[in-house]
Structure formats: structure tokens, C-alpha cells
Subunit: 218 residues, 8 copies
């Protein structure tokens, strides 16, 4: 167990009954109780057993704890900027966003800033400047992190998605793109792994908080 | 034989003697006599046999006919804009440029506009606007054509290069990137195929010239 | 947005309701309103909401604007010749053809001219000669563009399809064939990307028209 | 040991001394004594030990028995037609041709009939018609066997070569092309395996001779 | 059209109505009317339209002409021996066998002689000796053709199948095995391509018949 | 240009003269002047031109500025722990370490803690605990980051190396291992990209410093 | 047939009727009658025909003979330790365990000891020490066998599973990981091949028993 | 450290000086001191420093301890049978054999029993019967372990080699063949990993010895 990041439930391959049971078993034991990759009908079956479960439809996440309201100041300072290239990348981008929010981090979303329409990205540079760490989600050719890497001055977590067809080979194309990015300072996670990106971004903010605490002790 | 594009000599696997011999055999028969992928020492050995051969060092091209001087108006109207992402992509980009010039097309070069420093590209949008067709050369993640595809309003020929290491897998990564580009209107050629890109771009300008001739006949 | 080519709706992953809604939102704003990769049942559900939608069954395209009637002279001069190798490649070839027609370009179809029966192609060389740009669609071994590249004197857009089985690896085989074509002057698009091929071919014709306009201004 | 096809020596990884020694050991024991993939300098070293060795330079074959003179009627009736697409495919095509001749089969060569210049092939259809079995050698996109498969009425052995660069991936592209050929009746051998193609073609002619002998016995 | 091998209908992607219609259109025009890759329910729907259609269940072939009865001497002399490695390879092996029989060739079947139980193969060597050409079908590791290649003295057509799981990668493993066979004289066809193997084997027997006819004319 | 990380020179494909020239041009303009992937003989030739260049042999880095002495407190607080699995991974691990030190970050090295001898890692857990961010370098199977991910509570940058043979496929194996790590919170960079890992880790520490500065302003 | 390991029935592609029939045919002929990869509904249909069939649900195995009761001393001495990394790997691990038990071997299970929580493995080292041979089952990054290889002093059979997503490429990632393990003494079987691992482990224990018998005869 | 198998030195990437130094450091500390993948000239340089080093030329192994003389009864009972398919596989097979002998195990060699000449294998079945564990080494199509798996009743360690060309893809083909073997009870190691195979086979014999010791204690 890595401190501060309670285990989450991986939905695929589990019955709604099993997920409900694990959720109940975790209740009162951890601060965040969530399951990922939950289709709407699975959510329906879980809710029949666990009435207070909440569903984040786009993110395909079920959770017992709702995200902090906008005016609820997060405990760990800093903002995770999350960018996505296309509409079809939203489920992965929202998996990152909701995970981060459920873990208590501040999130700033910027959707639909794919490189084929670069001006939308350039018109929103304040999001890149305000963020302390960026998650960049893109499928098809996956070029967005490279461009962002040249514009932003913070760590970047790149998430390739399986969005695309033909020579995207289920996400292989954007994965290779991101690994070969000529912009340094980019860490890549597995295809569609919005959850893992949120944990890595969260770790980066926690590192900052811990360093500050250390320096104050001196 | 495709009209207007005389055969060129593919250098690899041929001795300097063989290349020299083919060049002499072509002399007086075609307007352009050139050989590609010629290393400097091979050039030296060819020149010993064919004294009037010219060497385009970066392009690694040997030719009997020098490119038109800047003030020499090309016969086929239109401009081929050629962009390259990084310094290491120059040999491929120059192979495109010199081929196009030797074939009599107007060329506008724009080097080192890789996406990790997007402002250099944005500061040179006039090159994109002035071109009638664009050749975009990029290695590593090969993201440049996608960005250009969103900025330019003309046909784009994308050339992946084998520049890179590790997960670029000798040009596979930028090849996949370009094929998956979310910007439509991009045609991709083989890895490092600067020559083929020039022929395709030249065909596009010739099509325009032929269409104009047709319409004037009516 | 690239001038002259209004955005089209990518069908997969969207509900009929979402597609219908986007179409209505685009009405009166763009000249071409179309959605690609639409299965018959999805079309049925869209039509229930948008009664004046038209369905091009083989092309799997829904559109609000029908293609120009045969005697309706296109605004942009020139003809896009579209060739397909086998019957199973028709959906992709028709995606190209209908897209091009909806965008207002003149199209000449030539189906079933695969290289295993080369005489059918040779008996129709007038189509190759009359075209100003060619789209060549082929699956399985994808050899057709190479042969056409040696016969035609115009730019060629090659479209590999996922038609085939076993060692075609979902279109990888014809994709590699086309990229390695020994005939220069061929630009390749993604597997099954009939739409992108039409946009590239259209760009080529528009370039010609713009060049003519430029020369007339002088 | 398969009757009628004496073992041949695979050159790579063996010293000239080892090859010479194996050749001498085979002398007087088999009718054909040959070694494949022999570079010129290796041949020189072998000849210093085995003076009567003959070198087929393009085929890169060393043998103790020269091929039958043109007017020497082969013992096994029938002709192996051998076609090659490009100049760079010649070493593989000649490996097939010399192997077949050394084994006593009649060979008809047809070089440089790649599909990008289809008329050269069409002008030589008599070679296809006269052959009883065809070996078709091609690199790059490897499209030649598909076209030949539609023109010839005899068994076809297809040999992909490693000629090419970039997305040919050392012969993977023509290999896949040939395996996916939409023309049936084509058997494919390993990349650059001119030797194996000759053995398969020879087996086909021997089958014919054996069937004739059987029918005469009845 | 290659003489002697009438076109067959490729079932996948066609409706039963389309298949029935093509069959009726071919009736009275060609001697063999067959469709491959037909599932039982598709057969049922075809039979409702074409009552005299016959179904070869394991081969998944529908045909209007039944195979020659055992005592019906085939017109083309010679025997095609067909071997299969495992039970799961039977559909592909039967596709070869029924195709060959429908085309009028003599067939000898030998099932379940995979290399993991080599003695069953060794106990049936007479099948290898009696055959004039062999088709060898194997999935998983696809080792059978290599072993047969060392035992039989006739041309071998190797058919990899998609039988297997995990690292068989849908037939890639046996395909590579067969291409790398250390036994020469083996031609490989596409994964699961039982039909193509039958055509190639048939071509080999027809070559023999044609050579005999030629020699008798002299 | 990303603030705080001056450009470095990528050695491969550049002559010593070119590298020396770029270094001199950068002198007095940036705080860190370094070139990566420099072989010993290239270093020798550079030093002949730039006498005050320093060579980090294992890291294969040339630089004009030596790393901070051990007692020189770094300006950006925090420690980058760098772990390597095997001896052959050292050049990549040292590329990370020297880059980080040249950029002014505090580095703690832990070499030879591969998972096949897990106790050496477990006996050095203090390095994991003391680090604010970890770089984990491993080739062959690349399992080290997964294990470290379960032990450390900080962001992890994983670097696959091309160390290995056979089925490591030049680093593909450890790359896939790291991307699939069941431990979340790991960002992966390109194969052998020790430099990029250092930049990402440095960005993480700078983020912490900037966040602290922000909070102090409030 | 390999002595001591009766054939088992591979379920996929067989109807329940076929499986039931084979089981009945084997009854009274072999000591172990089992079928693998049986889904629950297939089991139901088999039981309707063969009432005394037993179903091991997680292992997806149907068998006529139940495993030895805990106090039933196995005939072949020695213990097969079976480890699995994650919950989703259980079906494969149980396939190994039930197969081994049905064949009469002693089995010790240790589930959920994935490397991301290394302490659970370290707290159960007695399982590794007590085993005479180990089967280690892991998906995703497949790192567990490498770690176990450094801790255990006995032969290890590694089983990659298809558990994972994205860059696991259906088990390719853990397969490569295991083949590249820096710990020697590990033999790898096919992806998800729990059955094959049990046979190999059983062979190892039988070898031991046979060696003991041999030595006692002396 | 795994008991009984002292570390060996991996030669590639180390200078002769480094290897000599490590050997001297190990002297008097472990019973076996050996280095693998040593080319002849590297051996020469090592011997100049360590005069009592012995070189096993085919195995490319340097060692300080010679293998047991034939009449020296090994301490661990049992015999490792080692089979190789072709002559070119010998370096890998000898790496296995010499490693096993240096570790004190009894070895029985059987070279050149590739499946294309199955009778040589069948004439030597006593080697398979006498062995307690088998190492089977094969390149190209790698079919030998499958055949042996059906003939032998003991554990099999399969070693694919990089011997071959074209579609062998540096050993990928035999690797896949072996993983897909339809004979169960086969464990596969990395391409060319003769050393690892010897350690695994040795572990199997040691397990037998330990089990015997355990049973005698009871
Ligand atoms: N969406 C996700 N993407 C990647 N990993 C996940 C995701 N959701 C859960 N996990 C991982 O799966 C683990 C739980 O797996 P399980 O025990 O099967 O529910 C968690 O600890 C996470 O590390
Ligand atoms: N740099 C190049 N890249 C790709 N194709 C080329 C290049 N140079 C020449 N070619 C092609 O190679 C052909 C000549 O090949 P060859 O007859 O072997 O000299 C030309 O007609 C071109 O199509
Ligand atoms: N050029 C070639 N291509 C493929 N296989 C060959 C070739 N030359 C020889 N061989 C095969 O290699 C075997 C001899 O290998 P070796 O015993 O190593 O000399 C012959 O029996 C042939 O089957
Ligand atoms: N060792 C390295 N690994 C990866 N990227 C590097 C490395 N060294 C330099 N670079 C990148 O290469 C760029 C310089 O390339 P160049 O202009 O060709 O010298 C730098 O800005 C870095 O982003
Ligand atoms: Mg993108
Ligand atoms: Mg780029
Ligand atoms: Mg085709
Ligand atoms: Mg060709
Ligand atoms: Mg087999
Ligand atoms: Mg490791
Ligand atoms: Mg694991
Ligand atoms: Mg073999």
C-alpha cells in the first residue's frame, strides 16, 4: 500500500455483486471507495445493493464519496491541469479527473485541444501556466503531449488512448508517439490508463507538500 | 515511365563505376540526371569519372544539372513548401528539396520547426500560406504534419524519418503518427522517402498546370 | 478548420440521438452536413429525428445534402478518378466517392479492377487518363496502386483496406505494400480511410483552382 | 535426403576452408556440389584450395559442375520461368536460376518486369505461356506475383526479397503481400530464399515426369 | 480467369440472398459452383432459395455439384495427399479436400498426424509415398510440414491455421514456422487458406498433365 | 525553451568539430553546457578544441560545468534517488545522474539492486524513503520499477534500457513491462532515455519549489 | 502418449455433447478424465449427460475424478508450489493447481503475491522453501517469476497470463518479461497455459521419483 | 544467489581486463568460475592475464575449472541429454553442455537431429530414453522440441536460436514455435540462452537429489 492512495476496485471481470461487496467491506476503512471501468448497467446493479453509490457516467467510475465541491479548498495544494485532444478521449480524461478529485486534488479541465486545431490550445495557455502538473490525454496520433511539452513548464503525464482505427493498432501509435516525444520531461503511462496518470500526478503534488513540510521543520 | 519525371538512379548497392556509367548513358537523353543516397566518398569516385557531376552534400544527391538559380522562373507555376522538424531530419528534407528543384519546381524551405517549439512554426505561417503544396518531414514522434494539417489549406505530403532511437523503431513511430493524423488531407510516403515526396508534390503542381491548360482550351 | 472542407461527424461511439443533434446544430451553418460509418439501424434511428437525412448505404454515410446531379457542373474543375480492387473494398471506395461528391467534386468510379485480372484495368485506361487525381482503394495484398502508379500521370492517393484475413493483419499488409510502392508519386492514408483520401484529392483539385486564380490575377 | 536433390552447402557462418573441405568430401558422391551465399572474397579463398570450383557471381553460388550448355537437352522435361521485378532482386533470382540449372532443369529468365512498368511484363507474356512453373521474385512491395497469378496458367512460386528500405522491414512487406495475393495458386517461400524456390519448382517438374512414367507403365 | 479453375464465391460479408443469386447466375455457365466459409445457418438460408445446393459441413462449403464418387476416375491423373495435424485443423483441411474433389482431383486424406505423436505419421508413410503432391495443414506450432518435407519426395503446400491461443497470435506462429522450414521444396499459403492450397496443388497436377500432352505431340 | 532546463547537445550524428562549435557558441549564454552520447574518442577530439571540457565516462557526457561538490547545497531542495538493476544499465543510469547533477539537483545513487536479488534492494530502503522522486533504470525484463512502486511513496520515473538480447528486442520487453506495471504512479520514458528521465524528475522538484514559493506569497 | 500423463480434453471449439462423448469413451480406460476451458453453461450441459462429472469453477475444469483429499498421501513424492500475482490470474493458476492435483501431485497454493506488494511474498517464503518445483503465474507486467527466481532454490515454471490491457497486448508483455528474466533457471510456457505448466512441473517430480528408483536398483 | 549455482560472468560489453579481474576476484571463493559469450580474441587477451584459463571454443566459454573427466562420476545423479537440430545451432548447444559439465552434471550430446531428417532422431531414441531431463536446441523453424516432446518421458527445456534468416526474425520464429508446442511438458528459455537452459536442467536434477535426501531422512 502506497501511503495516501487507497486501493481502488478494478471493475472488469467482477460481477456487480462482487463490486458491491468489496465496497461495503471497505466502508469505514478508507477515505476513498471507488471502482473504475463500470458500464451503466453494472452501475444500476450495484446501486440496487449499495444505494448511496454515485456514478460518474463519462468517467465510468462508481464511488461512495462525491468529489469536493468547487469552493472546498483541497488539502494538498496545487492544481492538476488535464487536457484532452478529442471528444472520444473524454472517458479516459474524465477517469483521470474524477480519480484526482476523489483523492482530494484540485483539477482544471481543458477538453478538445487536439493539435489539428492548435489555436484552441494557444488560446488557453493560462490553463497550462496555472497547472502545477499536467495530464495530457490523446488518441489517434497522440501528438498533443509533444506540443504541450514545448509550451508548459511543469511535469507532464501523457496518456495514450485506444481511440482511433486502422494503423492506430489499439493505441500503439499514440503510445509510441508519446515515448518518442522530442520534448523532454514527459512520463508516459499505459494505454487508456487515466487512473494511473491521476495517481502519478497526485504523487507529484504530494511530493511538493512533503518537501514544504520538511523545509518548515528545519 | 511517368511523363515529366525522368527516372533517377538509386545509389545504394551500386558501385561508383556503375552509377557513372548509367549517368553517361542517360546524358543527352533526359533533362534531369541524378542519383540519390550518395555518400561523400562515392561522390568522389564518381567525379573522377564524370567531372561535371555536382554534389548536394546534405541531400546526398549527385546530379549533372544544377538547380535553377533563384531568379530563374520555374516552368510549372506554384511553390512547394518544405518543412522539417529537427536538424537530424535535414538529409531527408534536402533530398526532397533538391529533387524538386532539379525537376524544375519552385521550393521554399523552412527548417527546424518541430512541435516542441511551436512558436517557431507559428512565426513562419507565411511559408504555409504561400505554398501550393507542402512536404512535411519529421522523425522521432513525427507530430509536425498533424499540426501543419490544422494550419495550412493545401495538400500535405508527410515524410516520416528514421531519426530517433529506442521506441521509434527506425521510423515506425513517426510513420504510424502520420497515418493516424487527425487532420485529414495528408498523404504519407515511406520512411526517409524524401525523393518520393518530391515526385508526389511535383505531380500535384503539374495537375494544376494541366487543369489550367485544359480550361484555357475550352 | 481548413477552408472549404467543413467538419464531418465521425459516427462510431456516438448515439443516433447525438448524431442527430449535431446535424441539427450544423444546419444552416455549413454547406455539407454528413456523418460517416453509419450502420443501417443507426440511420433508421437518425431519420426518425431528422426526416430529411439521406443515406448512402454502401458508403455508410448519412447526409443532409444530396450529391450534385450528373449534369450539375462542379464548381471546382477537375475529376477525381476512384478505383477499387475487389467487391469487398466497395464501402471504403464509396466513402471516398460520396464524400468527394458531397464536397462538390467531379467523380469517376472504376470498380473491381484488382491486379489478379489486370486486363479489366488495361481496358479502362481512359479513366486513368481522364482523371486529374486518382484514389486507389485495395485490400488483401494492396497491389493496385503500384500498377496504377506506372500507368497514370497524375497524383495518386492510396487507401489500404482491412479486407482480407490471416496474414493481412487487419490491413497491415496492404498498408505496407502501398508505402513500399516502387512507383513514386503515391501518398498513403490510414487503413479504411476513404474519407481522408477524398479530402486529400479534393485539396489537390482546389490547389489547381487556386493556382489558376493566382495566375489570372497577374 | 529427398531423392534427386543432393544437399547443398549453406555458406554463411562457414570458413572457406570448411566449405572447401565439404566440397572435396562430396566429390564423386553426388552429381551436384554447390555452396550458396558465397561472397567474392570467400570464393577466392575456396578456389585456392579447390581449383576447379566455378563462381556464379550474381547468384553468389560456388559449384563444381557447370550448368548444362544451351543445346544440352535437360533430362527432366519442362521449363522453369523465372521473373524478377527490379535490378536489386537479381541476386535472389539468379540464385534460383543457377540452382535450377545445376540440378538439370530448363530455365527461362525474364528480368526487370516490376509492376510499376506493367507493359514490359505484358510484352513478354510468351515467357509466362511457355513456362510449366514460374518463380516470381520481388522486393519492396512485392506485387509482381499477384499480377502474374492473373496472367499465367501454371503453378507459381513467389519469393519475397529483402530489397527495399523503411517500411519494407527487411522483406516483411513483400512477404505479407505475397501471402495475401488475391490470385490463388501461389506458394510462398522465405525472404530471399531463391534456393528453396528452385527446389520447389524442380519438385513440380519431377512430379510431372514421375506421373508420366506411372501412366506409361499402365 | 485462370483456365480450369472456375471462380468460387467467398462467403464472408455476403448475405445468403447474394450468394444464392450469384450461384444461380453461374449455373449452366461453369462446371463447379461453390461458396466457401459458409456457416450452417447461412447454408440453411441458401437452401431455401437454391434447393439443390449441397453442404459440406466440416469444410463449410456449399456447392451445386457433388464430388466425384470414389470409383469415378478423375480426369487429371495424380493424387493430392492432404495431411492435418490436429482435430481443430479439420475445417481448413476439409476446405482443401472438398475444393480439390469438386475440381475433379483425386484426394487422399490423412488426419491427426501431428508431430507430438510422430509414430502415427510414420505408420502412414504410404500416403506420403502414393501422393503426387501434398497439402499439409497445421496450427499451433505448425511443425508438421518440416517433418513431412524430410520424408516425402514431392512438392508440398503448407497451410498454417489460426488454431491455437496466446503466442500463436492467430496463426502467425505456424506461418513463420512453415516459412522457415529447414526442408526445402515447401510453398506456403495464407493462414487458414485451404482453398488456395487446393488450387496450387491442382495447378501442379495440371502442369504434369499438360507436360505429358506436350511430349506426346512431339 | 522550457524554463530552467537549458538545451543540451545530442551527440550522435554530429562531428566533434560541430559539437565543439555549438559548445563555444553556448558559452556565457547558458548555465549548463553539455553533450550526451559522447564516445571516448569523440571526447578526445572535442577536448583538443575545447580544453576545459569535462568527460563523465560512464555517463558518456561532455560538459563545461562540473557537478556541484558534495557539500554544495543544491538551490532546488529535494533529492532524486536513482536506482539501477544491473551493471550494464549503468551508462543510462549515470546519464540520468550526471544530467541531474549538472542541472543542480541533489542525487542519491543506488546501483545493482535488480529484482533477482531482492534483498539488496530491501537492505537499502532508506534510499527509497529519503528520495523525493525516484528514477528507476532497468533492462532485460525491467521488473525493478514495479517492485519499487510497491515500496516507495513518491513519484517514479521508469527508464527501460536496451540491455539484454533475444526476446528483449532492443528494449521492447522492459518498456512493455514498465507500461504494464501493476503499481500505479509510474511514468515511463523512451528506451535508454536517461536524460529525459532526469528532466522529468527535475521538473517534479521544481514544481515543489514553485508551489512552496506560491504558498509563501499568500 | 507420454507415460503417466493421460490425454486431457481441450474444451474450446467442442460442443458439450462432443465433450461428454469423449469422456464416456475414456471412462475405464485412463485414471484421469478431464476437460479444460469449460464455461459454467457448458458444464451444465455436460452434467445433463454425464451426471458424475465434477466442476472446478475457478479452474474452469470438468473431471470425472475428484482431487485427492488433503490426508491422501500422493504417490509421487514432492510438492508443487503455485504462486499467482493478482486476483485476475486465478483461473490460470487454478488450472495449474487442479490439473496437478488430478494427476496425483501434492500442491501448495499461494495467491495474490504480486510484486507491487512484495512484503506479502516475503512473509510467505516458507512456501517457496517447502516446494520442490514452483509454478509462478502472473499477468500485466509479469515480474513475479524474476523475483521468485532470486528467492527460491528449485526449478521454476513461469506462466504469463492475458490479464491486463493496452500495452500488455494480450499477454505479450508478461511473456517477454519472463523470457528475459535475469534470474536463470526459469522455463516459460504459452500465455494462459496453466495446464502445460502443471504437466511440466509434474514431469519434474516424476523425474525425481524415477531417479530415486534407479539409484535404489543399483 | 541461488544455492549450488555460482554466478557466471556475462562477457559482452566487458573488456578482457574487466573479465580477468572479476575471475581473479572470484578465485578461491566459488567452485566454478566461468565467463560466457567470449570471442577467440577476447580469450587471447584474458589468457595473457590469467594463464590458467581454459577456452571452450564452440561454446565460447572461458573457465578456470575444466569439466569432469568422462570416468569422473558426477556428484548429482542423473543425465542431461542435449539435442541440437542443425550445425549452426552448435554454439548454443555447447554453451548448455559445457555449462552443465562445469557445474558437475552428467551430459549426453546428440547433435544434428533436425526434424527434416527425422530418421536420425529415431535412430537415437536411446539418448532420449537414458536422459533424466532434455535440453533441445533448434533455430529456423524450431520444430525439434515438439517432436521430442512426443517421444520422451521427461522434462524438456527448449532453446530457440537466432540461426536462420528472413522470416526467422532473429529467433522469433522458433521462439513462437516452441511456446505453441502441442506437446505439453516443455519449458522455453530466451533466444540463444544455452546457459539458462543448463541452469534449469541442473535445478531439475538437484530437485531430484534433494527429494531423495528428504525421503531418506524419513
Ligand atoms: N482504471 C484503472 N486503470 C488502471 N489500473 C487500475 C484502474 N482501476 C484500478 N486499477 C488498479 O487495480 C487495482 C485493483 O485491482 P483489483 O484488486 O482487481 O480490484 C488497484 O489497486 C489499482 O492499482
Ligand atoms: N531516394 C530515393 N528514395 C526512393 N526511391 C528512389 C530514390 N532514388 C531513386 N528511387 C527510385 O529508384 C528508381 C531507380 O532504381 P534503380 O533502377 O535501382 O536505380 C527510380 O526510378 C526511383 O523510382
Ligand atoms: N541459399 C539457400 N537458401 C536456403 N536454404 C539453403 C540455401 N543453401 C543451402 N540451404 C539449405 O541449407 C542446407 C545445408 O546447410 P548446412 O548443412 O549448414 O550447409 C541445405 O540442405 C539446404 O537445405
Ligand atoms: N541523451 C539524450 N536523450 C534524449 N534526448 C536528448 C539527449 N541529449 C539531448 N537530447 C535532446 O536533444 C536536443 C538537442 O538535439 P540537437 O539539437 O540535435 O543537439 C536537446 O534539447 C534534448 O531535448
Ligand atoms: Mg492528438
Ligand atoms: Mg516532430
Ligand atoms: Mg489488390
Ligand atoms: Mg514488385
Ligand atoms: Mg503441428
Ligand atoms: Mg530488472
Ligand atoms: Mg506481476
Ligand atoms: Mg528444427
Amino acid at each position: 500500500l502506497r501511503t495516501g492512495f487507497p486501493e481502488v476496485i478494478w471493475g472488469p471481470g467482477k460481477t456487480p455483486q462482487q463490486i458491491a461487496q468489496i465496497m461495503e467491506a471497505m466502508r469505514n476503512r478508507t477515505s476513498v471507495i471507488m471502482a473504475t471501468r463500470i458500464e451503466p448497467d453494472v452501475y444500476g446493479a450495484i446501486r440496487a445493493i449499495v444505494p448511496d453509490v454515485h456514478y460518474y457516467a463519462t468517467a465510468r467510475i462508481c464511488a461512495l464519496k462525491s468529489p469536493p465541491s468547487p469552493d472546498h479548498k483541497p488539502q494538498i495544494p496545487g492544481t492538476i491541469g488535464i487536457l484532452s485532444a478529442g471528444t472520444a478521449d473524454l472517458p479516459v480524461a474524465e477517469e483521470s479527473a474524477v480519480t484526482a478529485e476523489l483523492y482530494g486534488f484540485g483539477v482544471q479541465r481543458l477538453w478538445d485541444v487536439g493539435v489539428a486545431g492548435i489555436h484552441r490550445l494557444l488560446n488557453n495557455l493560462h490553463v497550462l501556466n496555472d497547472a502545477d502538473v499536467l495530464i495530457v490525454v490523446a488518441g489517434m496520433e497522440g501528438a498533443l503531449p509533444s506540443v504541450v511539452g514545448g509550451l508548459a513548464d511543469c511535469p507532464i503525464v501523457a496518456v495514450p488512448t485506444s481511440v482511433g482505427y486502422g494503423a492506430s493498432f489499439n493505441g500503439l501509435a499514440p503510445l509510441l508517439t508519446m515515448l518518442n516525444s522530442c520534448a523532454a520531461g514527459i512520463g508516459v503511462v499505459n494505454i487508456d490508463n487515466g487512473f494511473g496518470a491521476a495517481v502519478l500526478a497526485g504523487q507529484i503534488l504530494r511530493t511538493a507538500a512533503k518537501l514544504k513540510a520538511k523545509s518548515e521543520k528545519l
